[in-house]
Amino acid sequence: MIRDETRARIDAEIARFPRKRGALIEALRIVQEDLGHVGLDAAAAVAAIFEISIVEVMEVVSFYNMLYDAPHARHHVGVCTNLSCALRGSREMLRQLEAHLAIEVGGATPDGRIHLGHEECLGACAWAPMMRIDDEYHEDLDLESAKRIVDALD
């Protein structure tokens, strides 16, 4: 389940903290990078490394928005819908993206390419509307540029 290389990265994280458990969130991120999500089997393997119960791992996974307990599409497209972005048309943009991708917010394209979600404030309020794709911010968007960026994803 957990490859040697992944395990080595987790061990390097553990070494940065005064207590092993401190590295749990980073370990889950690493596992998710490798497997796409943290399912029960992966949680069990992580629980064994950290010497905690599976439920303790899963309650952390379910608490944080960026950790997924079910398979997630290859790219996470998240449109900010909090106030500063909403005032500048982010809801219309999200609705248009739903139509463009033929999926609803919270869903994924059938080919597993794109998950479309909405996000709370991402700290780019002056460049609204904006969206986050994986680890990248895309700011000052309009309907056309948003569609173009999404279409360019592999």
Binding site: R16, F17, P18, R19, R21, G22, A23, L24, I25, E26, L28, R29, F50, E59, V60, F63, Y64, N65, M66, L67, T81, N82, L83, S84, A86, L87, R88, G89, R91, E92, R95, E119, E120, C121, L122, G123, A124, C125, A126, W127, A128, R132, D135, E136, Y137
Partner: protein
């Protein structure tokens, strides 16, 4: 990468310059001289006294006096003490810490090191919100450069002082900006805030004495050490000294960051710096400090942006996130967006907050839909009143205040929704 501010001051004057992100570029502009001075000329307690005398207040929202917070750390301990740099900036409308992390990471790091020297901390955990990938990368790069140059490590600048910084990433939860929620998350747990006492200075990260400060707060510190208390107090008001970073967003012609002295008037920020409301629209209201802070109607923004003045208008500086709304804006929709956010982000451990945020959103949403009832407005105020001051952390207060503010100044608009059984402002932004 974050765009540089339109108006700069001592914090941000070099933030438009790419070289400033590197150690060489930072040093060429006087970087780490304040740290060297503190290590050479001051004792830890003198450093705390200097920062306390400057009157610097925390820039993360609560505005507590930084030097006082540092003084709570026990001097002698039987193990390590920790510092935490709170880089979990998540207050809707705020985007200033991201600028500092991405475009001036060494300035933040220098402030951290002075704070660590003052409090005797052996390690700083810099907790960066999960979505700020670029900021975390820049901070980690700066830490690596500083370590290589002997600015971090076993012998900071040859002084014998030992310190290291560990950059840690969150994974998406607003509540981790609350200092004890952050500490839980740092320990690899759900970010549910802790009951106090014990306070972090007694038992914080991993059970050790800990002080948590905001990114911008740290960035002010080197300037205070380099230029002195009188210089720092020449900016801002008597009670709220220094500059701060105002992030202006929403319906303005020039949204962006503005570094201005505390006490700058809100109408000057909106109309002069951010160039007013575009498209021939009129101003309707302004949230002065991120969505947790109560709104001010257009007629009340002739107020200096400092807590001692904002308090008189029943609001607060918060994190300096100024959100501007024109006269097309439906205030019930504003309440809906804000209450959805708090419902979604409540950590769920206190009943008043978990249930209260859900009920506030449910009621606001039905008013907006045209299904509101006559008693709904009073119910909203009743629920909000029962959340305030009743929970482990300030999140419930932050969820109650915006609704109270909107009803205080725009009650007629809520009543019109109920009376007409529809939204009277159909041209407003979509929710």
């Amino acid at each position: 990468m974050h765009a540089a501010p339109f108006v700069t001051g001592y914090l941000t004057e070099h933030c438009g310059d790419d070289a400033y992100r590197t150690l060489a570029g930072y040093r060429a502009r006087g970087g780490y001289e304040a740290l060297a001075r503190a290590l050479r000329e001051l004792t830890p307690s003198e450093t705390i006294a200097l920062v306390e005398a400057s009157g610097l207040q925390g820039r993360g929202g609560a505005g507590f006096v930084t030097g006082k917070k540092w003084s709570f750390m026990p001097e002698k301990t039987d193990g390590p003490k920790y510092l935490v740099c709170n880089a979990d900036e998540s207050e809707p409308g705020s985007f200033k810490d991201r600028l500092l992390l991405e475009r001036g990471p060494h300035a933040v790091l220098e402030g951290i090191l002075i704070g660590a020297f003052a409090t005797g901390a052996e390690t700083t955990f810099c907790y960066v919100r999960g979505e700020y990938a670029t900021a975390a990368r820049e901070m980690a790069r700066a830490v690596g450069e500083a370590r290589e140059a002997g600015i971090l490590g076993d012998d900071v600048l040859g002084s014998g002082f030992r310190h290291d910084v560990v950059v840690v990433r969150g994974a998406g939860a607003y509540i981790c900006g609350e200092e004890t929620g952050l500490l839980e998350s740092l320990e690899g747990k759900k970010g549910q805030p802790r009951k106090k006492p014990p306070f972090p200075a007694q038992a914080g990260a991993f059970g050790r004495p800990t002080t948590v400060n905001n990114v911008e707060t740290f960035a002010h510190v080197p300037h205070i050490v380099a230029n002195g208390v009188d210089w720092f107090r020449s900016f801002g008001t008597e009670k709220s000294p220094g500059t701060t970073l105002f992030g202006v967003s929403g319906h303005v012609a020039r949204p962006g960051l503005y570094e201005l002295p505390l006490g700058t008037r809100l109408d000057e920020i909106v109309f002069e710096h951010a160039r007013g409301v575009p498209n021939g629209r009129k101003l309707k209201g302004v949230i002065p400090g991120g969505v947790s802070m109560p709104i001010l109607p257009a007629g009340q923004i002739d107020v200096p942006m400092a807590n001692e003045f904002l308090k008189e208008r029943k609001t607060s500086l918060g994190t300096g996130g100024v959100i501007v709304m024109d006269d097309s804006t439906c205030m019930v929709r504003v309440a809906s967006v804000i209450s959805y956010f708090f419902r979604d982000e409540s950590c769920g451990q206190c009943t008043q907050c978990r249930e209260g945020t859900a009920w506030i959103h449910r009621i606001v949403e039905r008013i907006e839909r045209g299904a509101g009832r006559d008693e709904d407005l009073d119910t909203l105020l009743d629920v909000a009143g029962k959340m305030e001051g009743q929970t482990i952390c300030a999140f419930a207060d932050a969820a109650a205040w915006p609704v109270q503010g909107l009803l205080r100044h725009f009650r007629g608009e809520f009543e019109a929704h109920v009376r007409e059984a529809k939204c009277p402002l159909p041209a407003s932004f979509e929710v």
